[in-house]
Symmetry: C3
Subunit: 366 residues, 3 copies
């Protein structure tokens, strides 16, 4: 039985456009070794990273005039996975290799590891911040030695900021503010609002960047939105206290979106594309750099915690974990993943994903 | 079937007191991941390193006012393995995690990995040198990639000094002196006495430290004492020749105890706590440092040999080894361990531990 | 069932003579851990790297007066695998360990991992270049993380030079010249001849070294000769165009032999002894050094390709590969290996070695 834990018929972020320019890029995505390259029209193509001749890695080859030539014996492959030519050989009968649907949009390259016939560009998430001059975006990539769902758990419950990120975005008040989780359409949404507090260091920087007083009392919010297969967009921000919080007018707040794409590599590792989109001071490259450095530090802290957690769970696969109200965001997201897997004919049987019977969650979600 | 090779109902050295001061310490001991920390009374506590909430490693958390708070979501644990509090949660029904009996004594932290009801402080070894101002002690810790019993074999037969430690404590005369092994009470004792020889480099240093002429002819002894579960204390020393050797008056000799605690980590690795206690020149820190450096070098040599031996045995698990008279100390110690395992309901079946049928050993032990 | 993929009754290169001078050398060859040392007559000996006393690695021991003494407890072994002496012990009844037939010749140490009774010095390959002052030789050793047969495939089809070694010995014309493969006696021979071309960088150096104009038009040849168990000698060279190519008189050509001995370590790794023997300017040490550096670079490129290929094949063990005319050299060589394995009572069953049914190969070989 196929035991993968990720839906296949979905768009995943594979890389940033700059990662695949002149040289091919080899990367394992959703358990498949894939080679990415640009064809003659500069469109990204994605093939199995396996030369049909002798099994060499095509990603060690060369791209010339938009064709990928194997670096071992010179078999040239087209973007459709069919052999184009090879010196001294007739290649018509060569077996084709898998070609993956791939799209470049919103500053990312997206891959569809499932059935190509189902690959629908309309199924891409809509990311307006990525196409507007009012917004600035930058981010990075981490290889994480843990199940991608542990990162979803992590992001759908920001209680951990108090502990993991004490020196940057954590603060006592997060713990004390109630959290609500709901499923709305295709999203799982976990929200937390804090009133009349002082901003933590990261947001003091945000206030400065937005031209607001960094030591003002503020209302702060975190709205985490999960959508399939593994995207988490977190609206975060602070507004001068009493101006409406999340709904305050733009001039009274500094807000942004924490952008998180988790792309499974194996069952116990994933590619974590992280970044921040902000709509204040979008033309300030120093601020962009500062934020990126701040996020790099924050997600490094997460990495240490999650990789050790993965290791603990591997040693105790049957151990029952707690499911608290703060875990509802992750639990509901996992349920959504599980339904998608079931729709693909897979049944996940890990106890940790059976949240249906959990009354505490049943209460906190619709 | 449980296939561990170490008794569980016993005290093992887990760490030095300084290893667990303000921050928690995570260490795998006897196959268990354990977190050590100090409670409000500064007493060391030991819990499973597994947060009952989501499986995070508690050792990545923080200790505050003698309580251990998980670094992920802030669950605070008490020394009894029960949840104390968590922001926004009622923790009374949270499942407890294992708490291990733990003691701090003789300059070490001791853990009892077995049944807590059987943990008896009186079962600690008696180490008078650790509580007397007439003695100085220092030592170190090595992680060894080999079965802890290979180190017991090594220490219970010092013939190897001639070869492994040729430049420090080895000398031809060790080989030539007869060795005797006996079981006395709860100890296996292997003894070797050399008469009227020149001291090797390490003991020339010892003689100098004791105010004796380093180039004098001496009588030298090695009395190795194994006791359960895995302690080896080796009385070593030199006395001016003809003054009674081991029984010579203090002013004619330099003697000390090589202290060895082997704490299993996995079946093929262990923590090796090594050191030396001496009752000459105890107030000389330079000598203490010199001895420690010497031991560091010596045990590094052992490490190289034992780790390769482990590797060879792993590749040839069924190969029969020789059991010579010089191996009797290790063989008798392994028998004692095997009896302890049997008393815990385990039967070790490795051929290498069946020494009963070996006539050579039968002769050399009582 | 024994599943090794290499014949045992054959001579393999184990090391260079300089690798085993005063200290013993431990190396895994054909799945066996072996210790090499020189006896009192300076003849190389080879034993299992496993002390019959307690399983220590003999290669960590010392050689004294042509005897190998274990570094743990001082058991001294003779070149026949029998214990010679041990302090305080009677060693007559000690079990012997395996001794391997071993020869030193042609600048290499050769080992016979199979039945010693069958070890015939006459079965060594004949390497006249290694014993003539008209030739110069130098080379190196790489540890390769791939099946030794992938390297044979690689060497028996030099089409890859165009792609893997584009900047040194590769050139378009290799692709375009037809390749022929034949089995002649105990050799598989793959030949390619290129007429009236410009020499690639490596051979421009060769022409200069031979006192010929480096920018002259040349005929170039590659004649790859495989022989059991895993030797590939490649005659390569260039002659001034129209002077007879391969058969040109010595003063019109620069030619040499690429020397390749692949010695299996495990099923997925091998020792690759590479080098070049040349009969032009043999007394020019600068040229020798330049060639060695060039080969080092070239074979490093092969290493990257083959290790990734091994990894791909491991992930897709059942995937069918193509067998083209350019692969005939490797395919015929694998057949020869398979016959040798069958003669030793082993049947290789990997699909990749069943070339009999391949009509394309059937055409291109006798």
């Amino acid at each position: 039985m196929d035991e993968r834990s990720w839906p296949r018929n979905a768009w995943y972020v594979a890389c940033r456009p700059a990662d695949v320019e002149d040289a091919p890029l080899g990367r394992t995505v959703c358990g498949e070794r894939v080679v990415f390259f640009r064809d003659a029209d500069r469109r990204v193509a994605a093939l199995e990273d396996f030369c049909p001749h002798r099994g060499a890695a095509l990603s060690l080859g060369r791209v010339c005039d938009g064709e990928l030539t194997c670096g071992y014996h010179g078999l040239t492959m087209g973007r459709d996975g069919r052999a184009v030519r090879m010196p001294g050989q007739r290649v018509e009968a060569f077996p084709a290799i898998r070609a993956f649907p791939v799209l470049e949009r919103y500053g990312f390259v997206w891959i569809w590891p499932g059935d190509p016939a189902l690959a629908d560009p309309a199924a891409l998430p809509h990311l307006p911040w990525a196409e507007s001059d009012d917004w600035a975006y930058d981010g990075g990539l981490f290889h994480m030695a843990c199940d991608y769902r542990l990162m979803i758990d992590n992001l759908m419950d920001l209680t951990h900021e108090t502990y993991v990120h004490a020196s940057t975005i954590g603060q006592r008040e997060i713990d004390e503010a109630p959290v609500t989780t709901e499923v709305r359409g295709h999203e799982v949404i976990t929200s937390r609002h804090m009133q009349d507090i002082l901003a933590p260091p990261f947001w003091r920087m945000g206030l400065r960047g937005a031209g607001l007083p960094e030591d003002a009392r503020v209302d702060r919010w975190q709205v985490c939105r999960f959508s399939l297969p593994s995207h988490v967009m977190i609206e975060v921000g602070v507004a001068l206290a009493g101006r409406g919080g999340y709904d305050a007018a733009p001039e009274h707040k500094a807000s942004s979106i924490v952008v998180d794409f988790m792309t499974p590599e194996t069952e116990t590792s994933h590619w974590y594309f992280w970044g921040m989109a902000r709509n204040f001071a979008p033309g300030d490259p120093d601020l962009t750099r500062q934020i990126k450095e701040g996020q790099h530090k924050i997600f490094s802290e997460d990495r240490a915690v999650l990789e050790r957690q993965q290791d603990n769970l591997r040693r105790h696969p049957d151990r029952k974990l707690l499911r608290l109200n703060i875990d509802a965001g992750g639990a509901r997201s996992r349920l959504m993943i599980e339904r998608a897997l079931r729709a693909e004919g897979l049944a996940e049987q890990r106890a940790t994903t059976r949240a249906d019977a959990d009354p505490e969650i049943a209460q906190s979600v619709e």
